[in-house]
C-alpha cells in the first residue's frame, strides 16, 4: 500500500507541478493583457496633460492660441486655483490642471465634487506657475421652454479623440473648450 502511494506521488506530482505552472502562466498572461489595456488609457491621459502643460508654458504672457489636442476619451479635464477651498492634495499651494478618470462627457452626470473625488484618487495633475487657472467648458443649453443660454462648467469630459482647446495666458490662465449643445429640463447646475 505504501509502495502504491509512493508510485502515485512519483506519477502525479510532476503533472500537478506542470498544471500549476501552465495555469500560472495563463493567469499572468491574462493579467498582462488586462493591465496593458489600462496602461494605454493612463498613458493617453498622461500624454494629454503633459501636452497641455507644455503648450501653457510655451505661450508668452498676454498670448493666446488655439490648438488641436489628442484627448483621453472617457476622462475629464479640470483645473484648480490656489485659492480654491477644495483641491486635490497633489495641487496644494499652486494653480493646477488635472485630467481625471471620470466620464463627464454628459456634463450633467458630474458635479465639482465628483470630479474632485476622481482627481484625488485617479487624476494626473500638473502644477502651473500661475495662481489662477480656469477651465471654461461653454455649453449652449436649451430649456424645455425653448430658451437658450450659455452655461459655463469648470470641467470638460472628453467623448471624442480630438478637441480644439484655446489657451489664454495672462494674470490667469483660461482654458476654453466648447461642448455640444444640450437640452435641459429646467435651470442648470454650474460646475
Amino acid at each position: 500500500m505504501i509502495k502504491g502511494k509512493r508510485g502515485w506521488i512519483r506519477e502525479e506530482v510532476p503533472r500537478i507541478i506542470l498544471a500549476v505552472l501552465v495555469v500560472s502562466i495563463i493567469i499572468y498572461g491574462a493579467y498582462l493583457l488586462y493591465s496593458s489595456y489600462g496602461n494605454q488609457e493612463n498613458q493617453k491621459a498622461k500624454t494629454f496633460i503633459d501636452s497641455l502643460e507644455g503648450k501653457i508654458n510655451a505661450l508668452e504672457d498676454g498670448e493666446s492660441n488655439e490648438f488641436t489636442f489628442r484627448t483621453a476619451k472617457g476622462w475629464t479635464l479640470t483645473s484648480y486655483s490656489k485659492q480654491d477651498a477644495k483641491v486635490p492634495d497633489k495641487c496644494f499651494g499652486k494653480g493646477c490642471i488635472c485630467i481625471c478618470n471620470i466620464d463627464c462627457s454628459d456634463v450633467k452626470s458630474c458635479n465639482v465634487d465628483s470630479v474632485l473625488s476622481s482627481c484625488q484618487d485617479t487624476g494626473y495633475c500638473r502644477k502651473i506657475n500661475v495662481e489662477n487657472v480656469k477651465v471654461n467648458n461653454i455649453v449652449l443649453e436649451t430649456s424645455l421652454g425653448g430658451d437658450s443660454f450659455y452655461q459655463n462648467y469648470s470641467y470638460k469630459g472628453f467623448s471624442v479623440e480630438l478637441e480644439r482647446i484655446s489657451i489664454s495666458k495672462g494674470d490667469k490662465i483660461i482654458i476654453t473648450s466648447n461642448d455640444e449643445s444640450i437640452s435641459v429640463g429646467s435651470g442648470a447646475g454650474s460646475g
Binding site: L32, S36, N39, T47, G54, I56, A58, V160, E161, E163
Partner: protein
C-alpha cells in the same frame, strides 16, 4: 510503456511546452521590446506585425507602438511651428527664402514621403490591424443594393492612426501671425500655387524605378487616366490656408466574403476589377482610380467593399474639404489569423489620407477610435 487513461503522452507534453514557449515569446515580444534598441519606425512596424498576427479578440490589448511623426516646415533656421508648441521631438525642414519652386518641391516631397511611409508602416492597408471584436461585423448581402443611409446607426467603428503631422510655420504664411487677417505673405502664395502633389506622385517615387502612383496602385498605373485629369484641376476649390495637415491611416472592416455575392461580382465588373481583390487605389476627393485605370465613385467602392455603417462619415470626409487631396487606398481581403478560413476571412478598406488637422469635426467623424501615440 502503456498509456494509462488520462496520462499525458510525450507528444502532448512537447505540444504543451511548445505552446507555453510561444506564449512566453509573444509576451516578451509585445512587452519587453526595449525602445532604445529600435527606432520609432521599426517599433511601429514590429507592433503592426504583432497586431496583424494576433487574434481579433485581443488585438486591442496589443499596444500599437506607432508615434505620430511631427514635421515643421519653416523658412528660418530658428523658426518654430506654433502648432507644436510645448511638444517634443519634431523634425524641422528648412524652406529656402527666395526660390518658390524649390519650396514647392520640398512640400511635395515631404507630403508624398509621409503618405508612403504611413502606407508602408501600416502594411499597405492589407493587414487586419484593429480586429472586429468591437464592431458590427455581420455581413448583410441583402442590403448591398440599399443606400448607405440604410446602414446608418450600425455600430461600425473605423479606426485610425495619425502617422504624421506636417505643419507650416505661421511666420512663413502670414504677414503678421498674431493678426491673421493681415493677409498672406506674397512669397507663401507664390510657393503654394506651384505645389502640385498629383504631378509629383506621378513622376517621382520612393526609390527604385517605381513612381508613388505605381506603388499605390499595385504597379498598375503609370499615368493618370484622362478622365482623372479632366476632373481635377490644381486649385483648391475651398481656398483658405491649411497650416497643418495630419496624414491619417483609416481602416474599416467587414466580415464575410463579399466576393461570393452577386452584387460584388456586378460591382467588380462595373469598376473593371477582376479576381479576388480590388487592390491598391488612388483616391482623389470622392473618386477612385482603380488598378485598371478606371475612375469610379468612392461611394460605389465603399458600399460594396465594406457594406456596413460608418462608411457615410468616410465618404463625406473624402467629399467635403480638400476635394483635391490625394490618398492611397486598398479594398479587399485583409491578412489576419482568420484569413486562412475562407468563410471567416476579414474584408475591409484601408486608406491613408491627409486631413486638415484643425478640422477636428471631420477627423472625429471618421475616426471613432484613434490608436498609436501622439
Amino acid at each position: 510503456m502503456e498509456n494509462k487513461r488520462g496520462e499525458l503522452t510525450s507528444q502532448q507534453v512537447i505540444l504543451l511546452v511548445l505552446v507555453i514557449a510561444s506564449f512566453l515569446i509573444a509576451l516578451f515580444f509585445f512587452y519587453n521590446i526595449v525602445s532604445d534598441d529600435y527606432s520609432e519606425d521599426e517599433l511601429c512596424k514590429l507592433s503592426v506585425l504583432g497586431r496583424a498576427s494576433t487574434s481579433s479578440s485581443i488585438k486591442g490589448n496589443i499596444p500599437l507602438k506607432c508615434t505620430t511623426e511631427k514635421i515643421c516646415l519653416t523658412s528660418e533656421s530658428g523658426g518654430e511651428c506654433e502648432q507644436f508648441a510645448g511638444e517634443e521631438k519634431f523634425m524641422k525642414v528648412e524652406l529656402p527664402k527666395n526660390n518658390p519652386q524649390e519650396v514647392a518641391d520640398i512640400i511635395e516631397k515631404v507630403y508624398a514621403e509621409s503618405l508612403y511611409s504611413c502606407w508602408k508602416a501600416m502594411g499597405e492597408g492589407r493587414l487586419d490591424l484593429f480586429g472586429t471584436s468591437e464592431i458590427y461585423t455581420s455581413f448583410l448581402p441583402g442590403a448591398l443594393s440599399s443606400t448607405l443611409d440604410f446602414f446608418k446607426g450600425k455600430d461600425v467603428q473605423p479606426t485610425c492612426v495619425i502617422c504624421n503631422r506636417i505643419a507650416i510655420d505661421e511666420d512663413f504664411i502670414y504677414e503678421d501671425k498674431k493678426n491673421k487677417g493681415s493677409g498672406l505673405k506674397g512669397y507663401f502664395v507664390q510657393s503654394s500655387t506651384k505645389v502640385d502633389i498629383h504631378d509629383y506622385i506621378e513622376k517621382n517615387g520612393p526609390g527604385g524605378s517605381l513612381s508613388y502612383l505605381q506603388v499605390f496602385t499595385d504597379k498598375q498605373i503609370t499615368k493618370y487616366p484622362q478622365e482623372f485629369l479632366d476632373k481635377f484641376g490644381k486649385e483648391n476649390p475651398n481656398g483658405g490656408v491649411i497650416d497643418e495637415v495630419g496624414i491619417i491611416f483609416i481602416q474599416i472592416i467587414n466580415k464575410g466574403d463579399p466576393f461570393k455575392t452577386k452584387e460584388w461580382g456586378e460591382s467588380l465588373s462595373a469598376v473593371g476589377a477582376n479576381g479576388a481583390l480590388i487592390g491598391g487605389l488612388i483616391v482623389v476627393g470622392a473618386f477612385v482610380v482603380n488598378p485598371v485605370g478606371s475612375v469610379i465613385g468612392l461611394v460605389g467602392i465603399l458600399k460594396t467593399a465594406v457594406a456596413v455603417g460608418g462608411t457615410t462619415a468616410i465618404i463625406s470626409a473624402f467629399k467635403d474639404s480638400q476635394q483635391n487631396a490625394i490618398s492611397a487606398g486598398y479594398c479587399g481581403q485583409l491578412n489576419s489569423p482568420k484569413a486562412k478560413q475562407v468563410d471567416e476571412g476579414v474584408y475591409g478598406c484601408s486608406f491613408v489620407r491627409p486631413f486638415d488637422y484643425d478640422n477636428i469635426n471631420e477627423i472625429n467623424q471618421v475616426c471613432k477610435n484613434l490608436e498609436g501615440n501622439p
